[in-house]
């Protein structure tokens, strides 16, 4: 497959994707999407937040989950970085701590898909039974 090099090629590729319905019309209903925020201040980045963000993006793309991944600054949990906040439609946001690639996949498989909570939720007094 040829690689995209110009804006024109990007436009054509995007049109192809739209025809295959791989692109969802997200901009119309952002509230209907799972919103994932990765904390990316110095503490988060130094602890591996970029690797986590890339893993989340990859998994969401492969599993075709209606979600949007954004970044945020320091939430004050520097000791527990990388942290990821997940807001499912109709639910309160949940912050997961010490997230690595494995845990990022678990967040998607267990929490986002099955509503099952994981250990390591902030504030730290939370524990799954």
């Amino acid at each position: 497959m040829t690689k995209i090099k110009s804006l024109d090629e990007l436009r054509k590729k995007k049109q192809q994707l739209e025809q295959n319905l791989e692109i969802r019309e997200k901009s119309d209903h952002p509230e209907s999407l799972v919103q994932i925020k990765v904390a990316m201040a110095t503490c988060g980045i130094a602890s591996g937040a970029r690797t986590v963000m890339n893993a989340l993006v990859e998994k969401i793309r492969n599993d075709k989950i209606p979600a949007v991944v954004t970044q945020t600054g320091c939430m004050g949990y520097c000791y527990a970085e990388p942290t990821v906040e997940v807001k499912k439609p109709g639910h309160d946001p949940v912050v997961f701590s010490y997230v690595d690639v494995k845990k990022a996949e678990e967040i998607i498989d267990k929490y986002i898909k099955n509503n099952e909570l994981l250990d390591g939720i902030l504030p730290a007094n939370y524990q799954t039974i």
């Binding site: 110009s6 990007l10 019309e25 901009s27 110095t42 980045i45 970029r50 320091c74 004050g76």
Partner: protein, 184 residues
């Protein structure tokens, strides 16, 4: 921080916190002059002269979530240990420019890292901010900006994960071509 792309992600976070709506990122690799320069310019709220002076102090931060601010001090240290320097100029209400220079072949200079990935993550995660990214290699440049990208994409947001992959591929292909063309 293992590479300069991570520092870039970190520094741009400062611009975002300062309310910037346009962030210009310039990466210039000049092997002939043995220099590597990264410049981040924003139109955020800017800083006073006093605040700029305090930037190298790790115990200074404008944030309230914690009492330390390590982003700029870490980058300055990395630059200085690689035969380079860091310079910040700012005007309240006008924005800030951060420029960091490295000796390209210095043994202590961290690798540039995956700059294209860092730029795409920033673009997609901050759809309300415009980014202009220029990569120059030995005088030849490649430029991409979100205004053009948004025009091409129409209703499809930059945060669409398929689109992110396509933009990253486009930037990487063009950056690689700049290098390949010069060695042919």
């Amino acid at each position: 921080m293992n590479d300069l792309a991570l520092h870039l992600l970190d520094i741009v976070q400062n611009s975002l916190s300062a309310g910037a709506t346009l962030i210009t990122i310039i990466v210039n690799e000049d092997l002939l002059k043995n220099k590597l320069c990264i410049k981040v310019k924003d139109n955020g709220r800017g800083m006073t002269e006093e605040q700029v002076k305090k930037l190298s102090d790790p115990f200074f931060t404008s944030r309230t979530t914690r009492r330390v601010g390590l982003g700029v001090p870490l980058l300055r240290q990395t630059a200085e240990q690689s035969g380079g320097r860091l310079k910040v100029t700012s005007q309240p209400g006008e924005g800030t420019t951060l420029e960091v220079h490295f000796q390209h072949d210095h043994i202590d200079r961290p690798p540039l890292g995956d700059i294209a990935n860092a730029v795409v993550l920033m673009m997609s995660a901050n759809p309300l901010v415009d980014f202009k990214y220029t990569y120059t290699y030995n005088g030849k440049s490649y430029e991409v900006d979100t205004v053009e990208l948004k025009e091409v994409l129409g209703d499809t947001p930059l945060s669409d994960l398929h689109i992110m992959g396509m933009i990253e591929e486009m930037i990487k292909t063009n950056q690689t071509d700049l290098k390949v063309c010069q060695f042919e």
